[in-house]
C-alpha cells in the first residue's frame, strides 16, 4: 500500500485517497474554437510516463481536497507533494 502525504492532513494510507491521473492538463481556454482532434487530445490522450510522473490525488476519506504529487511509476516512490496552483518541483516541463 502506498503511503501518501496529504499537504493538509499529513501522511495517510493509500486507501484514504482517490487517484486523478496526470496533473497539469489544461482545459482549452475556448472549447468552441478547438478542433475535434484537439478536444480528443485534451480529453483522452495523455502521457503515460515510465519514470517520474506528475499526478493528481484527492484525499477523499479525509479533507476531500485535491493536490498534486510527483511519483516514479517504476518504483512507486513519491518525490514530492504540492498543493493545487503551486509550481511543480523542477518547474514547467
Amino acid at each position: 500500500m502506498l503511503y501518501i502525504q496529504c499537504p493538509w492532513c499529513g501522511w495517510r494510507d493509500e486507501s484514504e485517497f482517490g487517484y486523478g491521473g496526470e496533473a497539469h492538463i489544461e482545459r482549452p481556454k475556448d472549447p468552441d474554437s478547438v478542433s475535434d482532434a484537439e478536444w480528443a487530445d485534451y480529453l483522452f490522450f495523455g502521457s503515460n510516463t515510465r519514470g517520474e510522473f506528475r499526478e493528481r490525488w484527492v484525499h477523499s476519506a479525509g479533507c476531500r481536497r485535491w493536490f498534486n504529487a510527483v511519483r516514479d511509476t517504476t518504483t512507486y516512490e513519491f518525490k514530492a507533494f504540492y498543493r493545487m496552483g503551486e509550481e511543480p518541483p523542477g518547474g514547467e516541463q
Binding site: 502506498l2 486507501s15 480529453l43 483522452f44 502521457s47 510516463t49 511509476t73
Partner: protein, 417 residues
C-alpha cells in the same frame, strides 16, 4: 515443423525424453524484414502467425525484450469468453473464441482449451437487468449465453454462498456462457512461437527496441539492442509498455498503464469446475488442473510499471472471495503477482493505424486481452498487411476518440474483464 503425436511421444519415451527436437530456432536478426512485430506475447505472435498464414508475409521478425511467456501472456488468469455487450466487441472477441476452438489442431500444440463455461454474477436487481440485457445482446450477435437464477448458480457452483439472509454480496443469478472457459497460458506462447518459426518467422528473444526511425512520417526501421533493423511496417504489441513505444515514435495514445494483480491458492481437491466472475465485487475464480484456485482482481487505481500493486486491493478481493465462497477462508496463498496492463478510457482496445505511416498499434487490452489474443492477432495482421482495418477491428481505431464513437465496455464487462 516436426509433428507432435502419440507416436513421437512413444518414440521419445524410449530414449527417456532426452532427444526431443528443438521447438523453435533462436535466430540473429536479419538486416531487413517486410514487417517487424514488437512484443512476443500472445497478441504479437498471433499477429505474426496470421500475417504469414493468411497474407503470405513470411519475412517477418517478432522482437521480444524478455523471453517467450515472460510478460502478460504468462501472468493472466487464463479466462476465455466473448459475452461482451456491444456489437463491435462481440465481433472481435467472438472471432477470438472461434479461433481458440480450432487452434490446437491447427498448430499441433495442445492449448488445453477447457470450455467449462463462464458465469458473471449479479448481486442486485440492477445487475440482473444488465445481465438480461447483455445476454440478449449476445444472442442477437451470435454469442451463446443464458441467464441463470440463484438456484441454478448454486447447482452449478455448490461452494457459492447463495443464502438470502446475512450476506454481504447476495447472489441473485448470473449470466452463463457455456463456450467460455480457460486455456493454458504458456501453451499459447510456446505453441504460437513454434507455429511462427515453422512458417519461417524469426522470433528474436532478449532484444529490446530502443527507437523507431522515421523519414517524413513513414517508418523506416527500428533500433534494437541487437542493432538497427530496416523495415517499412512496424506493429507494436507491447501492452503495458505501449506508451513507451509511442513516445519513441513521437505520438500520443489514450492509454494508461496500471498494475493488475492475481494470485493462486495452495492446491486442493476439485471444488469448482467452471469459471465464476463478479464484476461488482472485483473477484474472479477458477480452478487449475493442479488444483490451485486461480483468483484475479481489478486494476490498481494508480499508474504503475513496477509489476507490483497495493495489498489493499488483494485484501478487498479476498474479503469478497470469502464472503462468496466461505470454504476458502482457511486456504493459504501460494503465489501472488502483478502485471502491467494498458487501459483505454472506454475499456476497449486499440487495433489501429496511427498518424505515422507504417506504424500500427495493437494495445489497450487492459485487463482482458488474453481471451482475444488470437482474434486480435488475426485482425491486426489484416490491418498491417492491407494498411486497412478489417471490418471486425474498424471500430477499434484511434479515431474513435475524436468522433466520439467510443465502445464503452466498463459497465458491461465490469472491472474483471
Amino acid at each position: 515443423m516436426r509433428k507432435y503425436s502419440i507416436f513421437s511421444l512413444a518414440r521419445n519415451a524410449l530414449s527417456h525424453h532426452e532427444n526431443w527436437w528443438q521447438a523453435w530456432r533462436s535466430p540473429e536478426p536479419k538486416k531487413r524484414y517486410d514487417a517487424v512485430i514488437i512484443g512476443g506475447g500472445g497478441h504479437g505472435l498471433s499477429t505474426a502467425y496470421y500475417l504469414a498464414k493468411e497474407h503470405g508475409m513470411t519475412n517477418i521478425a517478432v522482437i521480444e525484450k524478455g523471453w517467450l511467456g515472460g510478460g502478460n501472456t504468462g501472468r493472466n488468469t487464463t479466462i476465455i469468453r466473448s459475452n461482451y455487450l456491444w456489437t463491435a466487441s462481440a465481433g472481435i472477441y467472438e472471432k477470438g473464441l472461434k479461433l481458440w476452438e480450432g487452434i490446437t489442431q491447427e498448430v499441433n500444440f495442445n492449448m488445453m482449451l477447457s470450455q467449462r463455461g463462464v458465469l458473471n454474477l449479479g448481486h442486485n436487481l440492477q445487475d440482473m437487468r444488465t445481465i438480461e440485457r447483455r445476454v440478449n445482446a449476445n444472442r442477437l450477435n451470435g454469442v451463446d449465453g443464458v441467464v441463470l437464477n440463484a438456484q441454478q448458480v448454486k447447482e452449478m457452483v455448490p461452494i457459492i454462498n447463495t443464502s438470502e439472509t446475512n450476506t454481504r454480496f447476495p447472489v441473485l443469478g448470473s449470466s452463463y456462457q457455456p463456450r467460455g472457459g480457460i486455456a493454458r497460458h504458456d501453451a499459447l506462447a510456446w505453441g504460437m512461437a513454434r507455429a511462427c518459426d515453422s512458417l519461417g518467422i524469426d522470433v528474436i528473444q532478449q532484444c529490446e527496441v530502443t527507437g523507431i526511425r522515421r523519414d517524413g512520417g513513414q517508418v523506416t526501421g527500428v533500433d534494437t539492442t541487437k542493432g538497427f533493423i530496416e523495415t517499412n511496417k512496424v506493429g507494436a504489441v507491447t501492452a503495458g509498455n505501449s506508451g513507451v513505444i509511442a513516445d519513441m515514435a513521437g505520438i500520443r495514445l489514450p492509454v494508461q498503464s496500471r498494475p493488475l494483480q492475481a494470485l493462486v491458492s495452495e492446491p486442493i481437491k476439485p471444488v469448482i469446475d467452471t469459471v465464476v466472475m463478479s464484476g461488482a465485487v472485483h473477484v474472479y475464480i477458477s480452478q487449475s488442473d493442479k488444483g490451485e484456485l486461480v483468483i484475479g482482481a481489478g486494476v490498481d487505481k494508480y499508474n504503475g510499471y513496477g509489476h507490483k500493486g497495493s495489498i489493499s486491493v488483494i485484501e478487498e478481493q479476498l474479503a469478497a472471495l470469502v464472503e462468496l465462497y466461505p470454504i476458502v477462508s482457511r486456504l493459504r496463498l501460494l503465489r501472488h503477482w502483478a502485471g502491467c496492463v494498458d487501459v483505454c478510457p472506454d475499456a476497449s482496445p486499440l487495433v489501429t493505424k496511427t498518424p505515422v505511416d507504417g506504424l500500427y498499434f495493437n494495445c489497450g487490452w487492459g485487463t482482458g486481452g488474453w481471451k482475444a489474443t488470437l482474434g486480435s492477432g488475426w485482425c491486426f495482421a489484416h490491418t498491417m498487411a492491407n494498411d486497412e482495418p478489417h471490418p471486425l477491428n474498424e471500430a477499434f481505431s484511434l479515431k474513435r476518440f475524436e468522433t466520439g464513437a467510443v465502445i464503452d465496455e466498463h459497465g458491461a464487462a465490469g472491472v474483471a474483464h
